[in-house]
């Protein structure tokens, strides 16, 4: 409630912020996210390894990969189901170019050579996916990107020379550098937090920069965008490239966290889960995918025990996730972010009337 209060005051231009400098105003306007950031920085002090890895780490990684989908779908109106595939390809490249338990496939390059090339390859793939689907709209974009995701899943399943078939790669270590073992729970948590926060901030910033605004123009009216001087196809492809970089970094963090990757990391069920995360969280704001990922991870982790505790079959946890998805989307088509927005507007208008 405190978060809600501060957001309101700043939006109304009342409170102390009005009289103080631009920095204080900025702090007041972003109080909610700054408090969240502070909490995330202090989180390792109160959380054990399980919470750092299986809850926070997993949430932020899934959030990043879903963010790349949110960027395309929310700002660009392009629902791409190939973003998990971009992340998976980056993860696979880390295993192939770097270190794994498979010396006959892995090249054992150092991390600083493997990481940039993995990002480049995954981004090239994401851009190609964009080039293939940029001239399509709506359901056709979904079909093309779903086809790409499905083909990649079967490729990894059936290809042994590069992807090692259904067993994939194991014992992929996180790197050591600056004297830190980034595979340990706390350093890895901070590494993931850094990139999650960075990708969130960059998306938020770019959404009001020419590139992001033009993308929203393309979403609202591609024909008019052409008629005011924009190359709509080029803009769409560039958006896919940008989103692919975020997904690729997420994919690399995913293999560093899990130390393994297999076709089941990029299966169609995972692709659909990512879409659910993005939609449940809300496509209207870059915080949405992280909220969606948190709900998903919590349900995934605790639903089974909760069901058993109330005397139901624990294997029904997927049903519970599905029901949760249904309820949120039914009541708020723009996800949790939409619920938050409506609550804030209601609070704001009631405050305005009480002020009169």
């Amino acid at each position: 409630m405190a978060l809600l209060q501060s957001a309101q005051e700043s939006a109304l231009g009342i409170g102390s912020a009005q009289r103080s400098g631009p920095f204080a105003q900025w702090v007041s306007r972003n109080a909610a996210i700054l408090l969240l950031g502070l909490f995330m920085i202090l989180f390792p002090a109160i959380a054990n390894d399980f919470f750092l890895r299986q809850i926070a780490g997993w949430t932020m990684i899934l959030g990043m990969i879903a963010l790349s989908l949110t960027f395309l779908a929310g700002y660009g109106g392009m629902v791409s189901l190939a973003q998990m595939t971009v992340a998976g390809l980056a993860g696979y490249m880390i295993a192939v170019l770097g270190v794994s338990s498979l010396p006959k496939v892995s090249l054992f390059w150092p991390w600083w050579a493997a990481v940039p090339l993995a990002i480049v390859i995954a981004t090239a793939f994401g851009t190609l996916a964009g080039a293939l689907s940029a001239r399509t709209e709506g359901i056709y974009t979904i079909m093309i990107t779903l086809a790409l995701a499905t083909s990649f899943f079967y490729l990894t399943l059936q290809n042994w020379p590069i992807f090692n078939g259904f067993s994939g790669f194991t014992t992929i270590p996180a790197p050591h550098f600056l004297g830190v073992d980034w595979g340990k729970a706390v350093p890895l948590y901070y590494l993931i937090l850094f990139f999650a926060a960075l990708s969130y901030a960059v998306v938020l910033y770019v959404s009001r920069a020419p590139f992001g605004l033009a993308l929203q123009g393309v979403r609202d009216n591609p024909r008019r965008m052409e008629a005011i001087g924009y190359n709509v196809t080029a803009h769409r492809i560039a958006a896919y490239a940008f989103a692919a970089v975020i997904a690729a970094i997420g994919g690399i963090l995913l293999v560093w966290q899990n130390n393994q990757i297999s076709p089941f990391s990029v299966g169609v069920d995972v692709v659909i889960n990512l879409l659910i995360i993005a939609v449940v969280g809300g496509l209207g704001h870059p915080i949405g995918p992280f909220i969606g990922a948190l709900i998903y991870v919590m349900l995934r982790t605790f639903a089974l025990d909760a069901l058993v505790a109330v005397g139901l079959d624990g294997r029904r946890f997927q049903t519970l996730i599905g029901l949760g998805f249904l309820v949120i989307v039914l009541f708020s088509p723009d996800g949790v972010v939409g619920i938050w927005r409506r609550l804030r507007e209601r609070a704001r208008s009631s405050q305005r009337t009480s002020r009169r």
Binding site: V206, P210, D220, N221
Partner: protein, 261 residues
Amino acid sequence: MSSIAERMAAAGTGNAIELRGVSRRFGALAALSDVTLSVRPGERRAVLGSNGAGKTTLLNCVTGDFPPTSGTVRFFGEDVTILPPHERIRRGLRRTYQISLLFSRLSVRDNVYLACRGVSRGRFSFIRTRASDGLMQSVADLISLVHLENVAERPVGELAHGQQRQLEIALALAGAPRFILFDEPAAGLSPTERSDLVAILTALPAHIGYIIIEHDMAVALRVVESVTMMHNGRIFKEGTPSEIEADPEVQELYLGSSGHA
């Protein structure tokens, strides 16, 4: 690669818009048949005709929204027949749409900003435009030109119909236009907004020519120096506003039947 002589010959035609034998078919329907039309730089021309005469299709062929099935389109001497719309816009062509085509979830300011950015550099920039940037001043000027200051921060989807029409016009005036195509700009405007529109059109710098499609004769004939009459996808008469008004054939075909519109 065309030779310098060829390019000079092309530029030497001296017309802002030059259509030669332009046809456009939609399946069996010939929306435009063999249209040849020249408009000089700075010339202001009305295109009149009943519904289905091919007026909007003509504009679509000039902007490239739909390319012509046959014929050539030149813009200030350059053959733009196969150029995509955004390339023509960057060369100084502008247009408005009969049914407003706007960015409904963005604010009025963002709509005008996109139009100004679209004909300048930095369309792909990842850096936000500062409030002190010269582009932002042009945005503010265009918004006040069409009297939308009070709703500048509102999402366009919430605007009244007349305000959306005003915004249509602002988008077409962004940057440094050389030639503008207005597709029924007065449709749905109140009498006050209509006189504002006439004022904006007559106040345009003399070097900016335009083609205007308009059913309201009071607007159309006050803001142009020449008129092209279309019927069934063909041009059947060209002249000054007074010649056209006096022409018995025109009166029978068009002015008589749709004088009430």
